[in-house]
């Protein structure tokens, strides 16, 4: 397929990218209108986990929704396996576009409360079969996400938040997506469940050979699961590259502030300082060297 846009932001691996988003822009109408996402590009290879971090309201969720097509893009393109990902309008989504799936933040609203869990996972399996992929069983998926195989007979209200999120992950992965977009999938969970669910998402998407865009504001989890990290501030990517490089040696003042804001559990009881208003002006600056940082030698 030669219609893949080559101008996409560089990737670390040589494998052909599964997702290519170029200059994605999202505007919200209003007075005044808000540009939530301002020309964000990212390419994700199969089996690669890319994290998008930033403070609340920086546009990371809007970007995630625009990539999947839930939010209307006012500019830019998103291609999945070389084919355009259209806006999810009123029409039925085409077979090819079902290769991109999403996991939402709130586990309580991501499952239909009046349908059995297995039925909902079967919806995902049916999607995979419709695309010509192999079939699978709901019980199998439940076991893979760490639940009992017979949990499928139950209804969502019988599960905890973390378990519901596992079921939502099972449903998304049962569709055998090439690309999984997770919009703060762990922020509604308690601390001990967060790491487990995040690690599960990484291992399952790697196993499936799917790319994953993981939106989070929890930097310590991101460090553990992401190959690459994108730092977003006010709708723009201010720093990006190998997770370890960005983590060890942040260039952009916003990334530095973000990492400095992580509390250190050293028993000293020190809380990170709140960012000052004058710092915010520096955070909007564009530093070209901070983009696409390679792994340090």
């Amino acid at each position: 397929m030669s219609d893949v846009t080559p101008a996409a932001a560089g990737t670390l691996s040589g494998v052909r990218d599964v997702l290519t988003a170029v200059d994605v822009t999202v505007d919200y109408r209003g007075h005044p209108p808000v540009r939530a996402v301002d020309g964000v590009s990212v390419s994700i290879a199969p089996g690669e986990v890319v994290a998008l971090v930033g403070e609340s309201g920086c546009g990371k969720s809007s970007f995630a929704r625009a990539v999947v097509g839930i939010e209307k893009r006012s500019g830019g393109t998103v291609h999945l396996d070389g084919a355009d990902v259209p806006f999810l309008g009123l029409r039925r989504r085409g077979v090819q576009s079902t290769g991109i799936q999403m996991v939402f933040q709130d586990p309580n609203s991501s499952l239909n409360p009046r349908r059995r869990v297995a039925d909902q996972i079967n919806d995902g399996i049916r999607t995979a079969v419709a695309r010509g992929d192999a079939s699978s069983s709901a019980a199998d998926w439940l076991e893979r996400v760490g639940l009992a195989a017979d949990a499928g007979r139950r209804y969502p209200h019988e599960f905890s938040g973390g378990q519901k999120q596992r079921i939502a992950i099972a449903r998304a992965l049962a569709a055998r997506p090439h690309m999984l977009v997770a919009d703060e999938p762990i922020s509604a969970l308690d601390a001990s469940t967060q790491t487990a669910v995040a690690a599960l998402m990484r291992s399952l998407s790697l196993e499936a050979g799917a790319g994953m865009l993981f939106i989070s504001h929890d930097l310590s989890v991101v460090r553990r699961i992401a190959d690459r990290t994108l730092v977003m501030y006010q709708g723009r990517i201010v720093e990006s590259g190998h997770t370890e490089t960005v983590w060890q040696n942040p260039i952009h003042p916003y990334t530095q502030a973000l990492l400095a804001a992580i509390p250190i559990p050293d028993g000293a009881g020190r809380l990170p300082l709140a960012p000052l208003e004058e710092h915010r002006a520096a955070w909007t600056q564009v530093i070209p060297e901070a983009i696409d940082r390679e792994l340090a030698a």
Binding site: L90, R114, G124
Partner: protein, 289 residues
């Protein structure tokens, strides 16, 4: 493997402990049974004019006879078989039309929504009974025409309710997840949305049965529903007007209408309270007529 019970997320009927709801359900059920058994349990032919005229209650005729020598009790119970099934038919048809149009309006939005909602506004702007009278008069007096007339004015409330509920769920995460999995709009509506909005619609429907009975009897009372020999409660009350001294002619059919309407309203109120304790009215009953 543990044989655990699977709890389905049911409508919790805890508030059915409300005595008025139980009383209402018992009376409503009793009337429905009477409606079905009317031909069997009626002591006289409701249409036969073979008894002494204007006989007071007592003796052979429990509730007396009317000005044409017909047994009031037999007419009353066969009247249940006329009005209640038609009221149920009316509510079922209104729910069908209203929920289908409301779902389409809520799910598809834009001009589809605008068009359907402006039509409901238009119909709802008319006084219900007067519009039904006009339609019944235009179609001609018959019970079925009265149902059609009532149908035209009664579906919009379901359309509005359904539209609001669908609109609220349309952008919920599980509906969006379904759409991302390739659900067609119809599949989304049927599998993901319908099971979650059926409760409030059932409540409105149960509250509406009483209103439907009142509307149909009202149209018959005005001479726009049941034709003369038919034993219908509204037309029985209407016949009583000419014989004011014979109180039993009007009081018994009037009481029949009253008990049925109040019973169905109690059931509807109890259902509503069971579904949403926040909207509970004082002691379970409420002014819904």
């Amino acid at each position: 493997m543990m044989n655990t019970r699977i709890k389905r997320p049911r409508i919790h009927l805890g508030a059915w402990g409300a005595p008025l709801g139980i009383i209402g359900a018992v009376i409503a059920l009793a009337w429905i049974v009477v409606a079905f058994l009317a031909p069997v349990i009626a002591p006289h032919d409701p249409l036969a004019q073979d008894l002494p005229r204007l006989q007071a209650p007592g003796g052979d005729t429990i509730l007396g006879t009317d000005s044409l020598g017909r047994d009031v009790f037999s007419r009353l119970i066969s009247g249940a078989g006329v009005t209640i099934p038609l009221a149920l038919l009316l509510v079922v048809l209104s729910v069908l039309i209203g929920t289908i149009l409301g779902s389409i309006a809520g799910f598809f939005g834009r001009w589809v929504d605008e068009t359907i909602m402006r039509i409901t506004d238009l119909v709802m702007a008319f006084p219900t009974v007067i519009l039904a009278m006009v339609i019944a008069a235009a179609l001609g007096a018959s019970l079925l025409n009265a149902v059609y007339a009532a149908l035209i004015v009664s579906w919009p409330s379901y359309a509005r309710l359904t539209r609001g509920l669908v609109l609220g769920l349309r952008s919920s995460n599980y509906v969006v997840s379904g759409r991302l999995l390739g659900f067609s709009p119809w599949r989304s509506l049927w599998r993901d949305i319908a099971p979650n909005i059926i409760g409030p619609i059932l409540v409105l429907a149960s509250l509406d049965i009483g209103t439907a009975i009142l509307l149909l009897s009202g149209l018959s009372f005005l001479g726009l529903g049941a034709k003369p020999p038919t034993a219908e409660w509204g037309s029985m009350v209407s016949d009583a007007i000419g014989n004011f001294d014979q109180w039993w002619l009007g009081v018994f059919p009037g009481l029949a209408i009253l008990t049925v309407v109040v019973a169905f309203n109690f059931v509807g109120d109890a259902l509503r309270d069971a579904l949403d304790p926040k909207s509970a009215t004082l002691r379970g009953g409420g002014p819904t007529l």
